[in-house]
């Protein structure tokens, strides 16, 4: 008895109102409770519990079938009514708690809505109450309320929970019935008393025969309700009760699902009815139902008139109409689907139970019982371990988007394997199990609807999947980054991949790694463009000559500057012997340049280099890559890298900086490099003879356009612009060669290297180079030859490109570290420049280290103008570049001196931007301001600052650019922008005003 009581309590909670629920309970109670709660969401954990419970229940059934637990249960149930008698007084006078609870529940509708809103469990209780009410409506017997009260009392005795449930039911009566209840109440206690006298004997309940007819009348209601439990309600109450306990245990899962459906899908009455059916076989149940009906009468007068079937039809509609119904509609579907899936998956019985639930109760019972019997043989359900196992396995299957496909394939493929996994419970290695667990967890979290599970029915398939997955995972788990080979053996390659994909997704959420691994397996190493190694190898293999220099041969961390892919591309494209020819020269140059490139990083224009380099590199032979490697190896790189980083930081803050320091560094480096280069490689720059620049002026406009388009520039409308750009591009391309030529003339290798560097650093070099032979006839062959040089510049290249960029952002990218450099190319890559080799070469000419030894002295005016656009091009996106070009081109026109001067100033600015790091710009300005002499023009600025006068940023900028920087000894090329000046003012607490901004400019215009 005691155990039965304990079991009953939870049942009471579920079907709080009617005593019959108590009867039903015992072991079932647990299941029922869990089911309604879990069923809606069908969370995996809930499923596990259910399975465990089922297993227990099945075991218990087997035992119970032999033992007569029914009587015990009956006795326990009957004991409830006896308790209810005691509580009879309570019914008339509900405790405060009851009142509170009852008030809200007073209206069944309200109850339903609230219950649905809150949770499933409350909905069930409410539904039960409502179902009672329906039953009562169906049978208007006055006795029914009596039975209700008794039941409630009994419930109260059982436990607090019961009392609560009874409380809820009570208020409903009080409200609705009001007077009629009171009238009946007098009779009720009497009737209750009788059962109370013989509370524990089930016979008493049976003794109430009049109820049965009423029940029969209600049967249709039951039918509509479809409750599984209702089946026992049939005439065989006593036997039915005993059996019910058994059956219920077995079909509990199905019943749970069915209940859930009922509770959600059907209105109050519908949900309640099934419970009743299940709960009360005895007459008491009927009586209570009647009482409830009485309560409901006022609410649903129509229902009272109707027979049970009619309300059934209406109910679903009503439910849908209600907000709660609508809200729970999704859950219903999900529940149904989930239930189906679960039933199908775990127990074949369940679906039948569902179908039975849809049908009449009797059928349900039978079906459920039969199926239960059938299901019993299934070992999986019985043992909780097995259930867990299944559960784990099943989870593996499901869920994700590609699962279905995978499943299908897997099924096909898996047919050979499945037995292994299932048969061997321990088959999973620990690592795999862990992986799987985590995986399962994620899956369980992800899926709550359970719809996904539907697809995963087949345990065998699942198992197969698991095995395969596990195996696959083992390798990656140990060596994730490394490429694990997928086991093609069992599943076949395609399937394995898919499996991998699905599994990878599920596991990490970031499957990429796994996928990547697969890719790698499929693809050969060389396919990876980013990896520096392959390139090196390739380069080494391609050019044995390069290996000659030990420094060069060293594997470069330096590669930083140039994106590997570029190198590869170049190698592929170039492969020609030209590269070899050039190699001798290039190597020294490259080495030298590589360092300056680092220096240039300081300057800050380097970002663009990469793209340019790439473009230029296209022709460049493999050697170039190698050279870069060697440059990288040099110890100086590290220092430069650090410097560059610091500079970049600074640059982010403020663009311009004093160039001097940078220049000095570069010079030193250059010298050292020169020495090394001289030692390593002979001076012989073998570059092809310098070609002269084509006379673009003589070209047809269309041809010019085509040529411009080759370089990837936006269509330029004006002819002079096109010409200027083409010239610049050509110079940029051929500069190196030109320089070489110049160097040859010089006859000193050192000078060559030096010039190259300076080139990168200072514009003077660029000018110098053209001086050698800017107008030499260009030729493809030449360009190709130059290409190697360019490719070498690649390393240097960054320096070249840097020149054009004034912006701090490029500076950031410049960072010597390979990674940063790689980033920069992406940026700098602005689409057009890449494709166009022209952009990159001009860079070389751009550099403008103010201190570059040769610097401007020798430069012919022309080269200057071309250098500008080239510089500007690489850094910015094509559109911007084009704009800039246009902007600059305006100034460019090479012929006019003014344009030259402007171009010079521009080049200065570029060079300045290169040479000076952003952080140094403010310092430079500060130094200039502090060093202003009293009589000079800039003295007014100094005085204004000291006098707290607001200064005009434009005026100060103009003065700095025209005279201040030069007078301050920071070189002619340095240029500051308004933004830099403004930032400097702000950072130094100087009150400054931008006169061009806003209304001031307008006002000035008006005045003028």
């Amino acid at each position: 008895m005691a155990p039965l009581k304990t079991t009953t309590d939870p049942i009471i909670l579920l079907s709080s109102p009617p005593v019959p629920s108590l009867r039903i309970t015992t072991t079932n109670a647990n299941t029922t409770i869990s089911s309604p709660l879990s069923s809606p969401l069908l969370s995996p954990s809930a499923l596990l519990q259910e399975l465990v419970e089922k297993g227990k229940a099945t075991i218990g059934k087997q035992k119970d079938t032999k033992t007569p637990p029914r009587q015990v249960t009956l006795g326990g149930i009957w004991s409830v009514p006896s308790e209810s008698e005691d509580l009879a007084g309570v019914v008339t006078k509900p405790p405060p708690k009851r009142k509170r609870t009852t008030k809200p529940t007073g209206d069944p509708i309200v109850k339903n809505s609230r219950a649905k809103r809150d949770s499933i469990s409350p909905t069930l209780t409410d539904v039960l109450l409502k179902s009672k009410a329906l039953d009562q409506v169906g049978a208007k017997d006055p006795n029914k309320p009596k039975t209700k009260t008794t039941r409630k009392k009994g419930a109260g005795k059982d436990g607090h929970i019961v009392a609560k449930s009874s409380k809820r039911s009570m208020p409903t009566k009080s409200r609705f019935f009001g007077q009629p209840d009171t009238a009946e109440a007098s009779s009720k206690p009497l009737a209750y008393e009788k059962p109370a006298l013989i509370p524990k004997s089930p016979n008493k309940l049976l003794s109430e025969p009049p109820i049965h007819p009423a029940r029969r009348q209600w049967t249709p209601v039951k039918d509509t309700v479809i409750s599984i439990d209702s089946s026992p309600i049939t005439d065989d109450l006593e036997t039915g009760e005993e059996k019910d306990t058994k059956y219920r245990r077995l079909p509990d899962f199905a019943s749970m699902v069915g209940e859930m459906k009922l509770s959600t899908s059907y209105g109050r009455e519908g949900s309640a009815v099934p419970l009743f059916g299940g709960l009360d076989k005895p007459g008491n149940v009927l009586i209570k139902k009647r009482a409830i009906e009485m309560v409901n009468l006022p609410n649903s007068s129509t229902l009272a008139g109707h027979k049970p079937k009619a309300p059934k039809l209406k109910q679903p509609k009503k439910k849908q109409k209600t907000i709660t119904g609508q809200a729970t509609a999704q859950y219903r579907e999900a529940k149904e689907a989930a239930s189906h899936s679960l039933l199908e998956y775990f127990t074949p019985e369940d679906p039948s139970a569902e179908s039975a639930a849809a049908e009449k109760p009797t059928r349900k019972r039978k079906t459920a019982s039969e199926k239960n019997k059938d299901s019993i043989p299934a070992p999986v359900l019985l043992s909780p371990k097995a259930a867990k196992r299944q559960f784990d396995e099943t989870e593996c299957i499901f869920g994700t988007s590609s699962q279905l496909e995978v499943m299908a394939e897997i099924e096909i493929v898996n047919s050979p394997e499945p037995a292994e996994d299932e048969n061997a419970p321990d088959y999973l290695p620990p690592s795999t199990s862990i992986v799987r667990r985590s995986f399962l967890k994620t899956l369980t979290k992800d899926r709550k609807g359970g719809n996904k599970l539907v697809g995963t029915r087949r345990g065998a398939n699942i198992d197969l999947l698991d095995v395969s997955i596990v195996e696959d995972f083992e390798a990656p788990s140990h060596e994730f980054p490394v490429e694990p080979k997928l086991p093609e053996s069992r599943l076949g390659r395609g399937t394995t991949r898919k499996l991998w994909d699905a599994a990878a997704r599920d596991l990490n959420g970031g499957l990429l790694s796994v996928e990547v691994i697969d890719m790698s397996l499929g693809n050969d190493i060389p396919s990876l463009p980013s990896s520096p190694r392959p390139i090196e190898e390739i380069s080494a293999a391609g050019n044995p000559d390069l290996l000659e220099d030990p420094a060069l041969s060293e594997p470069g961390e330096v590669i930083e500057d140039e994106p590997i892919p570029n190198l590869r591309i170049e190698d592929q494209s170039m492969g020609t012997p030209l590269g070899k020819v050039v190699q001798g020269e290039d190597i020294p140059n490259l080495r030298i340049e590589g360092q300056p490139a680092n220096v240039s990083q300081e300057n800050g224009v380097e970002e663009e280099f990469i793209p340019n380099l790439r473009i230029e590199d296209m022709p460049a032979p493999v050697k170039m890559t190698r050279v870069a490697m060697s440059d990288a190896d040099e110890p100086n790189d590290l220092t430069f890298g650090d410097l560059a980083k610091t500079l970049d930081r600074a640059s982010s803050i403020i663009p311009n900086s004093a160039t001097i320091s940078c220049v000095g560094v570069t010079a030193n480096i250059a010298t050292t490099l020169v020495d090394s280069s001289a030692a390593t490689s002979g001076p012989g720059p073998r570059v092809q003879f310098v070609t002269s620049m084509p006379d673009y002026n003589a070209w047809i406009t269309t041809k010019l356009k085509a040529e411009v388009a080759k370089y990837g520039f936006k269509d330029l409308k004006t002819r002079p612009r096109m010409i200027s750009i083409l010239e610049q591009c050509w110079q940029a391309k051929n500069k190196r060669n030109i320089e070489h030529d110049g160097n040859k003339c010089m006859g000193v290798t050192i000078s060559n290297t030096f010039t190259q560097r300076t080139r990168s650093t200072s514009p003077s070099l660029s000018y110098h180079a053209p001086s050698g032979g800017p107008y030499n006839p260009p030729s493809r062959g030449y360009s190709t030859t130059t290409a190697p040089g360019v490719s070498k510049f690649r390393e240097n290249g960054p320096t070249i490109r840097r020149c054009p960029t004034r912006r701090p952002s490029p500076i950031r990218t410049r960072c010597p570290s390979g990674t940063e450099i790689f980033k920069s190319p992406d940026r700098g890559r602005s689409p057009t420049p890449r494709d166009q080799p022209t952009t990159s070469p001009p860079v070389a000419g751009q550099p403008a280290a103010s201190k570059a030894p040769r610097s401007s002295l020798e430069h012919p005016p022309r080269p200057l103008s071309p250098s500008k656009p080239a510089q500007s091009i690489p850094l910015r996106s094509p559109k911007r570049k084009a704009k800039k070009h246009k902007h600059k081109q305006k100034h460019h026109s090479p012929s006019s001196p003014r344009s030259l001067s402007k171009s010079l100033s521009l080049s200065r600015s570029r060079s300045c931007s290169r040479s000076r790091s952003p952080t140094k710009t403010p310092k430079m300005i500060s130094c200039i301001i502090l060093g202003v002499k009293p009589g000079s023009e800039g003295f007014k600025f100094s005085q204004a600052i000291l006098m707290y006068d607001p200064i005009s940023v434009e005026e100060l900028m103009e003065w700095l650019n025209t005279r201040g920087i030069r007078e301050g000894g920071y070189g002619k090329e340095a240029v500051v922008s308004t933004g830099e000046v403004k930032d400097w003012c702000i950072s130094n607490g100087i009150c400054c005003v931008l006169e061009d901004a806003g209304w001031r400019a307008q006002r000035a215009q008006k005045k003028s």
């Binding site: 310092k923 006098m947 707290y948 607001p950 950072s987 009150c991």
Partner: protein
Amino acid sequence: MEPVEIPAFYCVYLLRSTINPRAFYIGSTPDPRRRLAQHNGERIGGAVRTSRPSLRPWEMTCIVSGFTSSVAALQFEWAWQNPDRTSKIKDSQRISKSIRKTTKLGRTKIVTPRMGAKALLANLHLLLHVPAFVRWPLSVRFFVEDLYPVWQAYCRTISGPLKAIEVTLDLRKSEQSRRSPSPPPPLGRRRAGSHSKKYLPTGEGGLQGLEITNDHYLDRHVQKSRDLLRDEDIKCGLCAQGFVHDGGATAVVCPHAFCNHVAHLQCLSRVFLETDVQYAVLPTEGVCPECRKPTKWVDLVRELSSRTRRKSEVVKTKKSIGAAGTVAGEEGEEGEAEDADMELMLSDSDAGFYEIISQISDSGSSLSVTDSDSAASVHSLGSAGKSKKKKSKKNRRT
């Protein structure tokens, strides 16, 4: 732009509605008493945003003074009003961040978040430490007792004391001033118009007792320097060069008594900057090379400014008279009398410039008002536009 004498007093103030203490207003003015009267409707020329009777009267809770120019004050005012947008504050340091709202038309509108007292003070604290303003000779003065503790509490939360900025709680102590009456300001410095007399400091403490004109001290200093510079043989104490060529336009004289140290502005600035941060350009304070007393750079500069840039008294009086007339008429007609006294001290060109500035201040101040009255803001902008037009007309006439 033409250099202008450093104003004797220019402050950025924070108004708070006594009716709705959550309503604040940030503005700037060289005469806070007069400006407060304008805001409270006692005098024509108050800002529209403060014209709502439901918010009046306003009280001036605190002022940030020491601005060396109206432009500087306006910049600070705008920065305080728009701490989320000002370039004076780095993004990483911003306390208030702008809110982006999309209008019905789909346009994104950047809105400055409403700032309560705490946020306002936090931003004030931040601004006072920002490089853009940290070197300015600013001081903070609280006139309200309840706001000062908030400030202190906030300062406690931030490491480090408030550097080089004087923060005082100046409560009203008495209605009668015990101090000796300050000597009458020189004729040129006297503010024209009868209305200016209304707002002379009265009593002791508080805004009403705030002394905004230290003319007598400045005049003494100016007189001292003039006397010293009359001597043609006097030379810079640092570079030993004379001041003949510039007539002493770049000579600064130690303000301390019994110290006749004279030096070039640049020379002395270098000395001061030696002890300052590297690459600093604007000194804040230093030690007089001769008397070894700490000296504020602003005192030296202010004297130099008043000595070299002050308009001749005759010219000023003439202009002041004329300007007073125009201003008076304007006030009577249009109510645009804000900071009229400031206008009196400016030349024509400066007056125009100042007009614009005042307009900016008006328009900018409208943004700072915390009370949400879009209509009011619109009106304020509209009025500002009108005032611009009117003033431009006026300038044309002149």
